[in-house]
């Protein structure tokens, strides 16, 4: 079987996803184009050899709509022979794009594919794509739809987590992210975003606050308590989990992933194309899976996805040297660590989305790179990256350095 290798990856810094964010003036097509250009240029790619551009994008409407992958490839001056496809696996889209690229390569359908993702949350707000899940009364009713923040609090309640647990995790994420930046751990892969006259508008993640303390977070009110009580979401959650007396609300802006803009690109190819182009493979994809799980709690899938990926790879939790799990909410990572007995020292060692933000469609392509860079820095062999996804799904990918 043909192996799928990771050759390179780049990401933008993440800009605050608000009108005063540094990347707000940059169109999503530009964000995507700039990472495509960066990965092309630093590898000296003849883009005619690229057989597909697969980009995750979770709110694919407006200027992110209608297959932004193909449009960004054209806009990035890729050869017109390079097709593109936009995919949506919710928050795992960026990783799923890499997995689809790897699948094409491993299946022998393609030799060189770019995966990644883009999301300008400041320009195209979450939810702008509508969808039947929350709005169609029949569907919401059948699936016991609750807002994701309620799910995060439900997950925390189910695992007996406290507000202090969640805040402490967030403080540590900020500390780790700040340290990683200070030590230049992201330098290899972060490419500045430039404006239309070529000047850099953002070179570092914009939302990291290394001085965050338990005290600074203590003042934040739980963000979903009111929705839970007034809109009735707590009741729906309890109907699914009747063993719980109530939903304890503990997530807020400070211990949840940040709303940001950004894009990522990952170069995936066969061994043969690497040899042909003179590129050295950095890691191979050992397993890549996506699972479905109970949609109301929604966010507890990474453990099941991880177990499945490990089984497919013939590995155990102890065989994984380093983990990256998207910090959608503190409870997601804390529940995962508890369920799989993963020590905090081996997971999200450079912080995560609580500190740096979560540009929905792009994140998976970013954190698989963060994982690989850190495996190289620490000279570790194996790593696993996972993200929880809306509607009760999760993806996990195991990579191994070569």
């Amino acid at each position: 079987m043909t192996e799928a290798y990771l050759y390179d990856h780049v990401r933008t810094p993440r800009g605050k996803g608000k009108p005063d964010g540094a990347l707000h003036e940059i169109t999503p097509v530009q964000l995507a184009s700039q990472v495509l250009q960066a990965i092309r240029d630093r590898n000296g790619l003849d883009t005619r050899l690229v057989e597909d551009v697969i980009l995750g994008c979770v709110v694919p409407v407006g200027e992110q709509g209608a297959n932004i992958a193909r449009i960004a490839a054209l806009n990035a001056d890729f050869a017109q022979t390079v097709p593109g496809v936009q995919i949506n696996r919710y928050c795992g889209s960026g990783l799923e794009a890499v997995n689809f690229a790897a699948a094409k390569v491993r299946g022998g359908l393609a030799d060189l594919v770019i995966g990644g993702g883009v999301e300008s949350m400041s320009r195209i707000p979450m939810g702008a794509d509508g969808g039947a899940w929350a709005m169609d009364p029949q569907v919401a009713n059948k699936t016991y739809f609750v807002m994701q923040g309620i799910s995060a609090d439900l997950l925390a309640t189910k695992h007996g987590l406290t507000r202090e647990d969640c805040d402490a995790y967030a403080v540590e994420s900020q500390r780790r992210a700040a340290r990683a930046w200070a030590e230049g751990r992201f330098a290899k892969s972060v490419v500045p975003v430039r404006d239309i006259i070529g000047l850099p508008v953002l070179e570092r993640d914009e939302t990291v606050r290394g001085d965050t303390t338990m005290e600074t977070l203590a003042g934040l009110k739980p963000a979903f308590a009111e929705m839970g009580a007034k809109a009735g979401f707590d009741s729906i959650a309890l109907q699914r989990y009747p063993q719980l007396e109530r939903i304890e609300h503990m997530h807020h802006a400070g211990n949840s992933s940040g709303i940001v803009d950004g894009a990522s690109a990952v170069l995936v190819g066969s061994g043969a194309i690497g040899e042909q182009l003179g590129l050295a493979p950095r890691a191979r994809i050992r397993a890549a899976v996506t699972i479905g799980s109970e949609p109301t709690i929604m966010l507890d899938g990474p453990a099941a996805a991880t177990r499945l990926a490990l089984r497919k790879a013939g590995m155990a939790v102890g065989d994984i040297d380093l983990f990256e799990l998207n910090e959608a909410f503190s409870s997601v990572v804390l529940a995962f660590m508890a369920e799989l007995a993963v020590p905090h020292e081996r997971i999200n060692v450079n912080g995560g989305a609580i500190a740096m933000g979560h540009p929905l469609g792009a994140t998976g392509g970013m954190i698989i790179g963060t994982l690989l860079d850190e495996m190289e820095r620490r000279n570790l062999a194996t790593g696993l990256v996972s993200l929880c996804e809306a509607a009760g799904m999760a993806s996990a990918t195991i990579i191994e350095r070569v």
């Binding site: 939810g127 702008a128 509508g130 969808g131 929350a134 709005m135 169609d136 009364p137 029949q138 919401a140 009713n141 016991y144 739809f145 609750v146 809109a231 009735g232 979401f233 707590d234 009741s235 729906i236 309890l238 109907q239 009747p242 063993q243 719980l244 007396e245 109530r246």
Partner: protein, 732 residues
Amino acid sequence: MIDYFKYAVAEDGICTLTIDQPNSATNVMNQAFLDGFRAALDRALADDRVKGIILTSAKSSFVAGADLKAMEATLYGNPDAKTLYEQCWAFSSLLRRMETGGKPVVAALNGPALGGGFEIALACHHRIAADVRGMVVGLPEVGVGLLPGAGGTQRYLRMIGVAKALPLLLQGSQLKPDKALELGLLNEVVPADQLLPAARKWLLGSPDPVKPWDKKGFQVPGGGNPMLPNLAQLFMGTAANLQANTYHNLPAPLAIASCLYEGMQLPIDKALQVECKYFVKLNLDPVAGNMVRTIFINKSEADKLVRRPAGIDRKVHQRIGVLGAGLMGAGVAYVAAQNGIDVVLIDRDQASADKGKAYSESRLRKDMARGRITADKVEAILARIHPTADYAALGDVSLVVEAVFEDRGVKAEVFAKAEAVVPVDAVLASNTSALPITGLAETTGRPANVVGLHFFSPVERMPLVEVIRGRQTGDTALAHALDFVAQLKKTPILVNDSRGFFTSRFIGAFINEGVTMVKEGINPALIENAARMTGYPVGALTISDEIGLDLAYKGAQQQAQDLGADNRPGASVEVIATMVATHGRHGRKNGKGFYEYAADGGKRLWPGLDDLWPRRPASEQPDVREVQHRMLYAQLADAARCIADGVLTDPADGDIGGCFGVGFPIYLGGPFAAMDTIGIGAVVAECDRLAARYDAGRFAIPALLREMAAEGKTFYGRNRVVPPARRTEPVA
């Protein structure tokens, strides 16, 4: 064919169609109505003389709405989707034909137009209501588990937009004319004598017979795309609230939300078909039929005193006595005074009696502050309540209700004092919730006059009165007691005397099962959530705390004393005794019960429960379905025993009593409706399983139910069983 529609064309080309169902006080929309309507409409549309049409009624109301009895019949008629759709569509499409027929039609609403009646009006091109007393319009179908299936949801949507239409339809709002006018659901409100002239005037003013939604470029007010941010928010919130409030048990509100969500994205003709299909879907679900039967058919019959002994003149009570001015006595006095009855309100001293009257005063002042009642009326009501400590004031009352402490001795004492004064034929009613009436009657010299009138708290809000017939209760006293209930505009059910009558023992079965599970180490949160998910308003532990654990404890002690060697205490008594006697936990009243109550009104389950009755590990906790079944089937088995033993004389009393008195899930229609729907054989099998697994007594099934299962009988419908109490003469 019976001619429902009087057809008259005047010189000016105005055709007046007067709906006038023969031999009926109202116009009910049955098949003959539909046929008559179609014929009249076709004639008017084809009649070249006719320029415009006035649709009005010869009755005091416009049209009373659909024939709900036919709806209930679908529970037994093996309805098929295609036939039901054709029936529904025949009416909806007829209204659509009127709407698009090219001739302007004005609805001249001479009286209330609700449900199907208002749907007819909505399909007209103009709606004028007479400003008469009791005038009301609206689409209340959701209240009986249905939706307006003849364009109501779609025309509301297109006339006033989804944001306004949704709450009106989900709450089944009945609107006074000024409110309907403000909303734009009525075009004019005129004095009654101006109704037909106003209708004629509008028709002669060259009106446009084309609805806005039949014109190019029409947009639903407020937007027609549910993905627009404001509407998306509305639909998301609505879908969530429906689930939170109905626990996935009520299909009608969900169907209504879907009619709007889907209908707004469709042209009117397609949207009407989708609405019709959702209506059919509700008809195919037993929930609607069961709700219609209990809420509409059975309750209406109860309100008309269907159980009243025949041949006894109706008694109009002018003046009654209430003994005991505590919460219940004060409530009874209040409701009686509201309904024009003079009340002598007696307590042991004047101050206590005055306090009872003050209850009415505070309620009435509150209503007055909200503009719901005028000062004159408040004074008139209060003037009817005569607080006193003097039993001599009872000299001319036709009925007394005692509402004193639940103690046989105290009750006997106040009855004796009253008996010395009241007329010889006065009814002596006891508001006891559990003490056998027969025993109380024996303490008086007039046992034939003694009857139980079990009110529920708060009296002014609870619609039910459980009327208990003791062994010696006479027909006259019973009839006069029922007359009193009717005067209070409450719904009576008739129950033969037995410990806990029907409602108290029936809810007791639910509470007992819930509390017993605590003893077994079942997660208390699971017990409470399971109850709510089944459709009970609150869980067994919550209701226990609300009633008061100390009261339950005292009741159990009283029963033990009364029954002596025959006493078989409920499984939960041990739990209650431990809570009250050992731990001083009396319930909400002292802030300590199954829950702990915080000063801010919050409450949490008491963690000490786990110490007293060690909780089973998560892996050994039952599935929520099992917990639900235990509580529900404990009640079903008890209801079955009540009818088998003659405590109930008719399943309707049990269904009404369960739903309107003690919170049995209304979507099930009551315990007997539920058993019919589940299937008698299935109920027997499940009770047998539960009896074998948990307790032979609580889930014991009477022979009656087994016979019914064997013979294919049901409690309602064509194969209905004759209740044992009806098989012989009632106990004299």
